[in-house]
Symmetry: D2
Subunit: 309 residues, 4 copies
């Protein structure tokens, strides 16, 4: 089995690295938070004192970081003459496969991919979906951008951490496909919420209406898996006070990335732009840490809101 | 088998009545257009010289009309003292089941249902989806509003004309559920279009992106059955110059009904309202007779538009 | 001086009738609430026991009612054979001028105007703006629909109650012009709020930014008279906890009328439709009785909201 | 009189530099296009062979460039060790005042201001409005960001090129204020267009409706100066086939900057975001080079469009 360097051991990265250990990979980890490294060490990981230290000698590098600027500065040296500022692509061995699982802007992904290619290295952007539960269970979805060869090479590692693995296209395509999907998801959530509530406002039972629309032309993922109206489905955040799930703040982040992408490509996304405005407003009213299906409350009557508390 | 009066023999009503004949019902038809009646007569229908004439003596009355005002004036007499203005509910026998398959405003459906109830008659609003193709093939979907008893009684007739038959709730609920669904559908179509085009603007293959989103959290009916991007799916309007299918003008009508419903119930439908604006603008640019997935062209680059032209 | 019948003595109608008395008109009033009539009687009004009783013998009838259905049923008899259901146009003398100051749907205004014309009577729809303060001060703005002759005849009465008097066109045009204006106003308010807050989010002083935009191409009525950002202007609701002024619920009503009008004429109003959605949501969060400039809080950071709270 | 270096002699910069010459300044120009420099030389300018050559020895530097990346790389050296890559702030004399009149993102303006401050130099961001006509006539509006001292020092030069000069705040505030204003303007234009057309759809005269709203609470700059409905005002683009004026493509650029700013500050701008989507769509339908008031055609009936066509 090959050696994997794993950098970034947060809520997502930690369990992902743990699954690589379980799958038999030799895993060398690094994180700025010592406790995060310690937790992985107890599960069998080797630790390093720097990101470059972890990456040196690895066959595959996997990174999981908060934003594009972190990914850029980790992979690409800001000053080639200063050894203390070396990037990962300066220190890894020839033939090392680089996989970034962060959700970041496509431009940053393309920037790193290009620098990697200049050094003869393969780089894949492989943002995930599935949340912390999927990370722990090893059932994440990966949407990848990169060459066919790199995508092929990444299969072993990605399979150890997730279920569905998609190849969206060349460098950056993984990030683009993910934000296209999440932008669309945000609109599905808002539109399903307003449609269900309009039915309720006319006296319909939201469960009956959901059942009808689910198998009709209004059918969509939120009606299948994640109904935003309380007490229509079991085991979803809407039936649990909108706790858990995918936080409003994270949807706001992804919608920000989607609008950044739309500006770059001069694309028009009226629904996605409106969804971003509604979600930002929703976050500002104090709902940032609640599940993103709580946008349903925007449409419910105040009495209902009060009742649900 | 029972006798069915069928009133309104247009593009939808004609083939629906024909399917009732095929199923063995005695069908007595009326339409203001003699040729429409003649066509049904040739298939075995009896004809009448007025709507009331067709309805008198029938066990079941089915109507298929353009708008709420037609349904109101057909069923409910505008002047009880004037025999020439009698409504259907004044002339039908006790126990006759009334089924209106028109897509109209919920208020009109409730108005007729209430008048029918006052005469001891059962009334169902049962708007359809599935288009002229579904009407001909007998595979329409019916979304019904009315009592459990009436819904039970209607099964035989509705099964002869369609496949899925839903019971959305009491009087008017069929209309409400249908416009909730179609409003949601319109948003799915616009949002899927803008998401796909943003991917294309970043160099992604729309087919690959569609395949990814279809099985991810962006999954929805338009990706499954009705992809708006040309040449992604076979046998859909987008791969045929946006001919056939469900016309923009009809979506504009349904979105108008949805906004009328939203006003009545003081509901907020930001996505549905925006979809209506975009579709009305699209119709005004000369696209009223094209399929509603042609909204995709709003987002495509002009060169692409020219190319597809 | 002529005799004026005034029907509908609410928050607006009461002070309007009082101003007619002050101007020397003989005023005969009716309202369903006896106390409202009593208050006017103390200021010199004659009282009647029914609307028709007030109108009989008057030279001019002025009405101020909540909604279109009230105006329709007051003016137009629902049953010509039933004396107890007579409408105003059945009882007034030939040559009586009818002026409806209610803010209602244009269709109802046209309906009454047509029935009045059939009886040879002149009818004007004359919705007002200026609020209860303007009603008391006699500085209301009237936007009128009706014939040139009727508009000419109405000058005396309208001048006694207001300042600006506009002639928007034929029957119904007053209502249309008012809702076009108020729809536009709602968008100005939202767009000015979001623009100011974006400046604040970037560290700008809202007063400085307001001063710049006011005299630039972003200039509009809200920056001139009604700045939504707290503490930019004195004596406006935003500097008084959004108390007083023009209530969110009333803006929701007017935006509902605007969307009803847009449906009737197949017009596309993306901005107005979005403003309605945002205002309905705002009302549902418990802000219905606050001034409509409180929509600003939708865009402010939660800390700021808490601070102002 | 002081010496001014002017860099960037396009449609705006050329006439601005010419006005400085007329006002008696010694003007040293640079542009990558030799013909642009030659035109200014004929009006009395000195020419330079590089931007740094123009700036060396000047008391004041004025720049007018297309985008933030040009401004960044012109002012700030990308490599301090490479003389061929020196930035303006490396070569100007102590005490030189730097004024950038480009319309760019606020971040770039702040970036340059910070680097200038590190060298002890004063920098002002001073984007303009008023178009090429205002540039030629010397009636531009400047919206400035920078210190009080720098703003004071800039008066002489700015006065020679324009009329209104605003001080919006510290570094970057000029850019922020300008895009807040232009975002608001775009919404005024769309909302005024849809309101006027809804009135027209109900039979109102757009001139009468404009006159009423202009002095009512719907009053705004577009009704005062730039009515989008053909034939309401003389001498505006709408009465001239939407030729001239402020191009749709430029509004799309400014709306892109506004959304970039909204992302940076986590601001919600639903109206501005919707306006961007509508304007991008409008540009993609082939209207990029027409005046931005042509968005009116989105709402007009197709027959009207055909007629005006």
């Amino acid at each position: 089995m090959s050696t994997v360097a794993f950098i970034g051991l947060g809520n997502m990265g930690g369990p992902m690295a743990a699954n690589l250990i379980k799958a038999g990979f030799t895993v060398k980890v690094f994180d700025l938070v010592p406790e995060a490294m310690q937790a992985l060490a107890e599960q069998g990981a080797l630790t390093a004192t720097s990101a470059c230290g972890a990456a040196a000698g690895a066959d595959i590098v996997v990174t999981m970081l908060p934003a594009g600027k972190h990914v850029r500065s980790l992979y690409v040296s800001s000053d080639a003459n200063d050894d203390t500022k070396k990037g990962l692509i300066d220190v890894v061995a020839a033939g090392t496969l680089l996989i970034d699982c962060s959700t970041i802007d496509a431009d940053s992904a393309r920037f790193v991919a290009e620098h990697a290619a200049n050094k003869g290295l393969e780089f894949i952007d492989a943002p995930v979906s599935g949340g912390t539960a999927g990370a722990a269970a090893g059932t994440l979805t990966f949407i990848c951008g990169g060459s066919d060869k790199a995508f092929e090479l990444a299969q072993g590692v990605l399979n150890a951490m997730g279920g569905n693995i998609f190849h969206a296209g060349g460098p950056g395509a993984g990030q683009v496909a993910k934000i296209c999907n999440n932008m669309l998801l945000s609109v599905l959530m808002v539109a399903t919420s307003e449609s269900l509530q309009m039915g309720v406002d006319h006296g319909l039972d939201p469960k009956v209406l959901s059942d009808i629309m689910k198998v009709s032309s209004g059918g969509n993922w939120t009606l299948e898996k994640y109904n935003p109206c309380p007490d229509v489905m079991d085991s979803v955040p809407s039936s649990n006070g909108y706790q858990g799930g995918f936080m409003v703040d994270l949807m706001v982040k992804d919608l920000g990335l989607s609008q950044e992408a739309a500006l770059l490509s001069n694309s028009s996304t009226p629904m996605g732009a409106l969804a971003r405005s509604l979600y930002v407003n929703h976050a500002k009213q104090g709902n940032g840490k609640r599940d993103f299906s709580s946008i349903f409350e925007l449409f419910a009557q105040s009495e209902q809101i009060k009742h649900k508390g």
